[in-house]
Symmetry: D3
Subunit: 290 residues, 6 copies
């Protein structure tokens, strides 16, 4: 909330100062990965939706890729489904995939579509099975229906963008035989962003970005190249849950995405801040310059 | 299963005898309502999917509208959710809508999409919220989130047909405020078929059609006009669960659908039989001639 | 200039608060009449250009119609051309039309095109002769080449909008024989806005809008219907140079423009303030409600 | 004629069993060469037309190339025109070309177009002169107006396919000077199929296909590669009238056609049997695998 | 042949003097009926083709409708076919229709296509059966296959115009059952021109136009309205073979053709003279002014 | 003026004799550079406009590039602006650029547009700034705003051609910062023609073409290759004002223009003579054959 009262003249000036940023993203594809703990708070969720609709209205082609871990855990608990582990990794049996499918493609996807439309957007929610968007195969026999992406068929997303929709994608995948797989959301987003040659992939998380000292929020690293990220991984600065995030960003960069940003989804309007102001939010990763 | 061995020459002749029927439906819209008890058997489900993909390949624009009563009841039971009733009607509270959404838009929709694609089709599964396809409002305050259709925005379905997909639609609806409603599947199909000016709406049920004597399958009435149907309703021939089916058909006819067929989804390839042979299956309803 | 320092979070919030306004004008046509004393200050001119490019980027179809009185007077003075008057009205002989043409279609038009492009827009400058946009005839024999609009051929403007340009129009007109006429800029804007069924016609002037007491800027009337405007004209509140402005607005409303706004071009970013904030700027005129 | 009575359920099953074949040919180009003795029987001709319209309706792009030997001989006889021979080959003088033109482009072409349309197709009949489809030059001075194909301009055929017609092509050709040539039908079909990169070229003849023992119909060879065909030619198995048929198929394969089938036009619905059942009809030739 | 030597400057001036006429016909449809005795001389035929290609190149949409009476009589004679008469009218039996079809759709049509292409045009020759362009029924049982036009399906002609061809049409027609009819060429041209809303229908004949005194070529009537034509018919000035020509023109005018011209096909370049110079050729008929 | 009276038959024949030339230029791009002393006479100017509209009507895509030296000098004189020189070259200060802009983009451009439209054409006049058509930078610091072309953005010209306009281009250019430069007209025409891969670039001058003896008009050289032109430059045959013309032609040829013609704009209808008759006008330059 803005505590300083702003006149309309001041508001107008803020808007016109966004001009160069709007110009930069006009007609470009931006993939936003949203989900997990970043998605818990209802008011914040609404602000993220507003940001997305704003980008869509000013001509950015936004693709929203979502997960939904906490909601999945919640339904599993209610159904009395116990998690099984093999070598420390959770096993996804057929029943679990059904639960994931119901939560992601049913509840989370449609909630996001409905919110985007309540903000004035035009959205269509699909899963990785629709139009065979995400093609996958078993990653590890022991883990069951955990999928590894084998191919992205970008047509369904392009068809929806062309018809003016904000595509909202649940990260499930399928194979030729019609089996359905649970796909890691960050990885799926990276593959989709890569296949779309997106200008930007934004990873919404529940931390501020990559911190030099993970206990000190003021040590946020605003920009990193791929090799700098590699070095920080080697020296242990990038650790824990941040590792797969950074790996997904590097996958996306290698597949042709211009830049990736890991940002804090709990900060109001952080997407707009990142794309339409001069400061940015979180940590931006780019390929090494040649 | 064909127990007579057929030569390829005989097969070829059967195919060419379908010529006038193919011609009739080429490039026309056919809405198929599928769900409930008609959808239980896995092998039959696959045959229905084959029929739909066959129609799609020969140039019919098929829209598949589905319900999923038994699966909903199943999940509700597993979650220990008790049905509440007001004046004999089931109350749909927020939690129940969530369950309906997960089962229909999550599980059933994606299963149908995956099966259609395994048969060689190109499908995209959406709900009534996507692109605001089905707009609804509360039907009766006491029943909670049971929706009454207020408007069909046919654009999402047309956009998908134009891009060559078989649209698969879950019958949920939404209002301007973003509330989600459970919509009766037959009614939703009738409204959608009407808005699309479909050539044919096919209601797949688990009985043979309208029977003059409901205990005698041989008393099937093959064709009825709207007023004949009305007379049969008055004299009690149409009764019980058949009443809402017939009402939906009449709604569809009044909104511009050419013909409606109530047929037995348990008969193998009944859709192809109805559309591509000279006999038809079940009971066909048409408007009164002028 | 904003004297309060704004954080990026505050900037982001201002941007998202513009959402409903952006939605309202997305893909709509807005005609902006700019010129005369409102156009003198270079910095203000740049801000008007920024506003227009901002609207263009967020999907508004902006048409810029311009005059250029002071520059015309300036060149006439330098060429030693004396103004002639008949019955108190200035006579426009062939030589004067040449001067008007050179200043408007040559200097002013191209300067505006160049500024819009320096702000990141894509503009094309044309006159009323190009593609026979403004067809005219002599208004009064004694006044020479002063034209009365006989027909607007909207094709050239639509062709440029379709190709993604901001059309910049000099208000000259022509007849079948190839004579060129000087056309009053406000009138031309009103006819063009009407022919385009514009959502909004904005008249940039050098006063705050319609004032109840013309010496008291705080007496600004924010909204007026056509008949209220007529009453204010009858009682003398609307007088002097404001009369033709209001008449042009009424012409535009009668030809199908949704709303017209007379605003102060000397206020920084007044266009953005009017279209993208909740307050508006200047006086808005609308048709009488039915 | 099917002597076993088939129920509609059996018919429906036959139709759905054609699914994989329909899928395979959907939107592909198939060139059918029809003519000569295969075309004599009126009822069979009607069945061939039905097959073609069936393919057209299910989305195959069919091009019908026809000859008309017997009808040409018939008209020549009636006009008392004696065949002249040079070195054992028939001379085609100007008068003979006129007769060929009248019979092929006039009678046979228009009869086929009319029959296709009576079966519900949309056809347009053209010759190799129309739009300069078949460009030719003299093959052998002594033979007169017998043409050798120099170039195929595929535009006229593509234009008709794009507009939804079944193109029906008479195999005459022309040169720059406007001379008209008689072109061998099989050769013309091969060149056209090659230029179109057809999926399949079907040669309708009056024998069963390539027989290992030409007096034993049960010795039909169902599939041959190009080199196998060459070997059979060397050892004399392929002989007589079959030689030019096989040569045309090899030409077509070399120009990019996927497969060629020599089949018996006297077997009812052999085209549908070949393309839409699991058995095929006649002998299929394919390129050598690499 | 021009006997005065013209310099290129003079040629250039003639070309620019055609400017207003080119402007008038640019992108308009002109139907030219050509055939019969007007078509006998080879050199004149070439000049007519040159005229048509010239019109086509400068953007006129020309449709060439042709007959071929003398060639038909010639082939009938060669085949020893005797004409039968009923009530003074020639009977067209099945064999005769075959002959007409061969001569018109085979020989004459393809000769015209080839000539147009030798002049640099792009032509496609079709008959009234192709794409069901001319639908007909029996006119008089006793006359056999003489057809009366029941419907024009203009699609095939429009499809060819759209693809940039000069459509060349043989005046045969067909019914639903696939019967082929001989259609009077002038009538067919009038119906086609009417269905196309042609700007001009030109009837090429072998006389100068409508003469006030049929033995005095200098008595040519350059312009006639429909009612003036009616009066001349009443007083006998229009008589004999001119009557059906005039009737066809009146049919065309009533169906929406702007003007019809009966002109002498034996005068070199009479079409260009009529359309591109200030004098015209033959007699022009127009509707009565209202 | 033609002093021999020509009959319409003779006129028609002249028109048809232009057939091969019309065919050659149909749908091709021709850039015409017009200006300077060639543009002084009003009647000649009208004839040039007629020629251009004639080409446009017969399907040539004409782009008119103009200068306006004499008019610029005239306005400078009237404004008492003295020419400054540095090292013998005229300095173009900001005020001079303003004058050039007013004369070229204002007066000359709009006069040409109006004349083309009076002849029946559809024209749109733009400058090198519009849509950033001509991008330029300072050529020589001492000369001020004299621009060197850095890039041609051909989109604005193609957009206008696609929409059916004759683009009329004033040869000014701009840089990223919004500075406006005066660009040599011949050079600009060459760059534009090259970027458009024009079929022909026509340079209208006030001399007959390249003369072997510059005092003998009968010594006109009708055709030259690039190396022949180089040789004539070496031996001094090409000298004075002809040097930059020839250099521009060579630039155009090297950038892909098929042929360039230097012709006398004072000869009536010389453009039509060049393009549509067998003789040509002036001197044609082509690339060296390989």
């Amino acid at each position: 909330m803005i505590d300083k009262a702003l006149s309309n003249a001041e508001r107008a000036e803020v808007l016109t100062q966004a001009l160069p940023y709007i110009r930069e993203y006009n007609n470009k594809i931006v993939v936003i990965k949203y989900g997990g703990n970043a998605m818990i708070d209802e008011q914040l969720k609404m602000q993220v939706m507003e940001d997305i609709v704003l980008l869509w209205l000013i001509g950015v082609k936004v693709v929203l890729v979502h997960g939904g871990g906490p909601e999945i855990n919640d339904l599993m608990a209610r159904l009395g489904k116990k998690a099984e582990f093999v070598g420390g990794l959770r096993v996804t049996d057929k029943e679990t995939v059904d639960i994931v499918e119901m939560v992601l493609a049913g509840k989370v996807n449609k909630t996001l579509v409905t919110l985007l439309q309540a903000c004035g957007g035009k959205a269509m929610g699909i899963s990785g099975m629709d139009g065979r968007l995400i093609q996958a195969e078993i990653k590890d026999e022991r883990l069951g229906y955990v999928g590894k992406v084998t191919k992205i068929n970008i047509d369904p997303v392009m068809d929806l963008l062309e018809k003016g929709y904000i595509p909202v994608v649940s990260t499930l995948g399928c194979d030729e035989q019609g089996n359905i797989y649970n796909i890691n959301g960050d990885t799926a987003a990276a593959y989709i962003a890569g296949a779309l040659n997106a200008e930007n992939m934004i990873m919404m998380t529940d931390i501020a970005g990559i911190l030099r000292d993970k206990d000190d929020p003021s040590s946020l690293i605003p920009r990193l190249t791929e090799s700098e990220a590699h070095a920080l991984y080697q020296d242990g600065t990038i650790s824990g849950g941040m590792i797969p995030k950074v790996e997904s960003c590097i996958t996306a960069l290698q597949k042709g995405v211009e830049k990736c940003v890991i940002m804090d989804g709990r900060v109001p309007h952080s997407i707009v801040m990142e794309l339409l102001t001069n400061e940015g939010a979180g940590t931006m990763l780019t390929a090494d310059e040649e």
